[in-house]
Subunit: 310 residues, 2 copies
């Protein structure tokens, strides 16, 4: 057993750190860890923070941590990094901007690579969040860069999703906003001291009013400035308001249930693959792909051949 | 049969368009289509164009198309869009900037959603590229926005990957460069008329010289400006040079082989899942997830139960 379940449940730093490494490596013991964590979950509030590069997500999270710490909360951060396909490691490493919280015993920070796990990020981020959750932390933050799949995965793993944008973005950001509309529970117009912040704020509010008229929860738009700092308290209150909404509406429990569903699905996918790829099948596959291009069987023929006898 | 293989092979627009829709929907006929295309592949040169939002990728591709059309080449473009999780459709739709090529009979443009297919983008983009390839087009361009998994998928699906950056990017772009280093065959510093272009150009060249000293192919850095326009011819020549390198070194064939491998792997994954999720198993799963949270079996227990009897 490469993990210390008692250490995790007692919030021991080393045990938590080792468990997160196990999650990241996708170690064979991950299944045992997953099973050991079950029954100790459902206490941590999971917040996803996403948006384009340069939007100031890390600094914003840093400020929020300050407020939460003052309120006595403990926090675990998972920085989701685009992965280098060459080294397999995360590109950014632990975020520089959050270093001042490193010495704080109530704060855990970890970056994770997004590549390599079968179920994609959502499965990995979720396992990592489960470690924090079981360790008794109050808040788990997923922070991620980029647009597309990664953000959708984060939204799936989080209870509340913050979408952070900056006023001076180009037209592709405009388009992104439309796509992010559906995953955002709260919009943050960061760098509110910059030119165009007021315009971005108004535009966004307009779009939301127009598009989400009938929604139970209309994503509020909060202006923040990390430099001043300004609007961070307001953001924190808005997050608390969303938490209450999730709890009272029963959505919080539904999200938990949905995540369990995804986990089962991912576990099954992995086992199916492991069972399928016997040494014999690998050999058939390799041999077929070594043939000259014009003698190579079609992928469908090859698949059919590999499935024969099952 | 929902596709017209003769029409595709004869380059008929309607047949191509319908086949691409079939790929996008991940229709059950996709397997039949894949099989029908086999044996007609390997002629199109596949170019991936990636980089952060706002780098001017579409405009750049637009200019390249101009040059290629003058040289008598036919082109198929696949714009890979971050997908709206809500509608399931692509966010940006067909790119506005390339509209002037719409009426050109030698140019095909299509946007595709990245979400939903099991094997991820690489499998879908590849199937779409295969349609263009079998239709006899000379060049297939994958264009994509974002950072992370999507770009890695595109690099996997392409013979040559262009990474487009802009001079005025923030520090996260710096970090991205490091991650993109390994997937870029050619770097493009676009908007070369902007301040800082020369600096970005020099920095990038410096990093490449330092990090890729022993590589057979050192990614050249090309400066372009779509507005002027400037450097597009140079970029085209650099692309041609990379193509020759791929061909002479045998890497082009290796890439084809690798893509076949991925396709087989994806087909198998899909079939395994389809076989596994019988109505009985779905029922067991649903029943377990309906239970009160504290009575719910752990994901591992549930998986074990579902695998019983197989």
């Amino acid at each position: 057993m490469t993990f210390d379940i008692d250490g995790i449940l007692n919030g021991k730093r080393l045990a938590i750190s080792r468990a997160l490494s196990l999650v990241e490596r996708n170690d064979t013991d991950l299944i045992a860890l997953t099973d050991a964590l079950h029954g100790h979950l459902g206490n941590a509030y999971r917040i996803g923070v996403t948006g384009p590069p340069g939007a100031g997500k890390s600094s914003l999270v840093d400020r929020l941590i300050e407020i939460w710490r003052t309120a006595g909360k403990t926090i675990g951060v998972i920085s989701v990094d685009p992965t280098s396909p060459f080294t397999g490691g995360a590109i950014l490493g632990d975020r520089v901007r959050m270093t001042r919280h490193y010495k704080d015993e109530g704060v855990f920070i970890r970056s994770m690579a997004t590549r390599g796990s079968l179920g994609g990020l959502s499965s990995k981020a979720q396992d990592a969040a489960d470690v924090y959750d079981a360790a008794g932390l109050d808040i788990v933050v997923f922070e991620t860069v980029g647009v597309g799949q990664v953000e959708l995965d984060v939204a799936e793993a989080a209870d509340t999703t913050l979408v952070v944008i900056v006023p001076e973005s180009g037209d592709e950001i405009q388009a992104m906003k439309a796509g992010l509309m559906e995953i955002a529970d709260i919009f943050v117009v960061n760098k509110a001291d910059h030119t165009g912040a007021e315009k971005a704020f108004r535009e966004l509010r307009g779009i939301i009013q127009l598009r989400l008229q009938t929604a139970d929860w209309k994503p509020p738009v909060v202006k923040t400035s990390v430099v001043k700092p300004e609007g961070i308290d307001d953001l924190d209150k808005t997050i608390q308001r969303h938490y209450s909404y999730l709890k009272e509406s029963g959505i919080l429990k539904e999200k938990f249930r949905h995540r369990q569903h995804l986990k089962v699905r991912d576990l099954i996918l992995e086992r199916l693959q492991t069972q399928f790829w016997t040494p014999e099948r690998k050999e058939i596959m390799d041999a077929a792909l070594q043939k000259p291009l014009d003698e190579m069987p079609s992928p469908v023929q090859l698949m059919t051949q590999l499935f024969k006898g099952t």
